[in-house]
């Protein structure tokens, strides 16, 4: 399993694609926001937590269609399926690799982009914590979506259509926690609920994703 | 026609929109059903004749 994780990470690094691209996309979304709603500092401060969450979510979505498609095309997925490693484990590792290459950088860079959007000082802690808790769920749900659409040519758009509704609970609790933090309110409840959703997703989604992948590999 | 008062537009447009949607799905289902049934009978006849 560790070998698979390392291999995926190395591939992502060497290709350079997912790593930088997601971050650049996140940056551009955040830069475009003031152009679309105006540069008033108070307004930006109010919408900053939501914009940062939405940007992170979209940046995460952007790289999902490559999550399994590369290994599907070159046949590596068939090899992995016949290996002693359970397919559930393979999918989970793929999601972890996706999170390390996409989610984690987004979490780290979010405070910097928060400065651009005039995020109140009190909001940085909750923003980073909520993103750190929520993005693993985004990657895991995304892995399920990628497994669903892996056999479909040009499945990218369909993937978004399938995955985005599944992101709703995570987005609601994550953005709510970040918003409450920015307004100086108590953030415990949404963070706990967010952690609960992420925990459940990480525990159960690999089984659904593996089941779907078995159908597609048939 | 009952007196709908000042909300006549709202009530009538709600009924119109709903009926259009309902009739639409029924018509679409029937149309596709007919076509598929005809096609199947066509193919069945052909396969009986040939084999």
């Amino acid at each position: 399993m560790r070998a698979l994780l390392l291999r995926d990470l190395q591939l992502a690094l060497r290709a350079g694609g997912g790593f930088g691209l997601g971050l650049a996309f996140f940056l551009i979304v955040v830069v475009l926001v003031p152009f679309s709603v105006g540069p008033a500092a108070a307004l930006l401060a109010r919408i900053a937590p939501g914009v940062l969450w939405l940007g992170a979510l979209l940046a995460c979505l952007l790289s999902l269609d490559r999550l399994l498609a590369v290994d599907w095309e070159d046949g590596a997925l068939d090899l992995l399926a016949t290996s002693p490693l359970p397919l559930e484990g393979v999918v989970a590792i793929k999601a972890v690799a996706h999170w390390i290459t996409t989610g984690l950088p987004l979490v780290l860079v979010a405070p910097v982009l928060g400065v651009l959007l005039n995020l109140p000082v009190a909001g940085y802690g909750p923003l980073v914590v909520s993103l750190a808790l929520g993005t693993p769920a985004l990657s895991m749900i995304g892995a399920f979506g990628a497994a669903l659409t892996v056999g479909i040519k040009r499945g990218g758009l369909l993937l978004s259509l399938l995955v985005l509704p599944l992101y709703v609970p995570t987005l609601i609790f994550g953005a709510e926690a970040a918003r409450r933090g920015a307004e100086g309110l108590e953030t415990g409840t949404p963070l706990l609920l967010l952690a609960g959703i992420t925990g459940c997703v990480l525990a159960l989604m690999p089984f659904a994703a593996a089941a779907v992948l078995r159908v597609n590999l048939r | 026609m009952p007196d709908l008062g000042k909300y006549a537009d709202a009530v009538l447009s709600a009924y119109a929109a709903s009926l259009v949607l309902l009739v639409g799905i029924v018509a679409l289902s029937l149309w596709r059903g007919r076509r598929v049934r005809a096609e199947m009978q066509d193919v069945e006849r052909r396969s009986k004749r040939d084999g």
């Binding site: 599944l166 779907v212 159908v215 | 709908l4 909300y7 396969s47």
Partner: protein
């Protein structure tokens, strides 16, 4: 004779031929009676004026929107556990009907909301949940359309339906947490205190019966259509195979 007999497509088709006229008839009678009764012969509400008449479309369609998804869930489970093709096809046939029901509920709700709440749309928990349900329906139908192999399409959409159900319920509670609502509580419940008044209640029940009949009729009919599509495709495949064989025999 058990219920599972009807998992056989031929038996299913024979049954649906026999039942369908009754269902269409029941739907037509109930809808006409209920809607005419509701539209022409019920008084206006004290506060809502004549907009109360929208309830005869809004409540039944909202009920059926949820029940359609529930039926798809049950059908998907039967497909996953017992592998009856009719079940998978019934789930597929129900989805577009569910989309239409959701649309009717949303549209009539918006038209009612404009004079009553002063807005077409509010990000109220019930409204938002329905919008999310609508998105789930769209994704489900899109996935069915996108996959060519019928058996894997059935498998994948069934799993999507299960996962989607969990997330739809989760979203329902998440949305509740996120915003307090304008929408009134249940119009119908076993607890009589909350219900709408009797004058509106009985025509509403007739309308609900009409929507249920209409839904059943549509699903049975559309399932029959899907079965015929499947059979036609199988026949055509066999035909091309035999012509290929003939051609090979001639060449040899």
């Amino acid at each position: 004779m058990s219920l599972w007999e009807y998992a056989n497509p031929v038996k299913f088709l024979r049954l649906s031929e026999r039942v369908l006229p009754w269902l269409w008839g029941g739907a037509a009678i109930c809808l006409v009676v209920g809607l005419v009764w509701g539209f022409f012969f019920t008084p206006d509400d004290f506060r809502q004026g004549s907009t109360v008449k929208i309830i005869y479309l809004h409540v039944p369609s909202a009920l059926m929107a949820i029940n359609a998804w529930f039926m798809m869930l049950v059908a998907s489970l039967i497909w996953i556990i017992r592998r009856h093709h009719v079940s998978a096809l019934a789930a597929r046939a129900a989805a577009p009907v569910g989309i239409v029901m959701t649309l009717i509920a949303l549209v009539t709700g918006a038209i009612w909301g404009q004079p009553m709440w002063g807005t077409w749309w509010a990000w109220d928990p019930r409204l938002t949940s329905f919008l999310i349900l609508f998105l789930f329906y769209l994704g489900y139908v899109a996935l069915w359309e996108a996959i060519e192999d019928p058996d894997s399409a059935a498998d994948l959409t069934a799993i999507l339906c299960l996962v989607g159900t969990v997330f739809a319920v989760l979203s329902r509670y998440a949305v509740n947490f996120w915003n307090q609502g304008l929408h009134q509580g249940a119009s119908l419940s076993l607890d009589k205190e909350e219900n709408v008044a009797d004058v509106f209640y009985f025509p509403l029940l007739v309308c609900i019966a009409g929507f249920v009949f209409l839904f059943l009729a549509l699903v049975l009919y559309r399932t029959g259509t899907e079965i015929r599509v499947r059979r036609t495709r199988a026949l055509i495949a066999r035909e091309t195979r035999t012509t290929d064989l003939h051609a090979e025999a001639r060449d040899a």
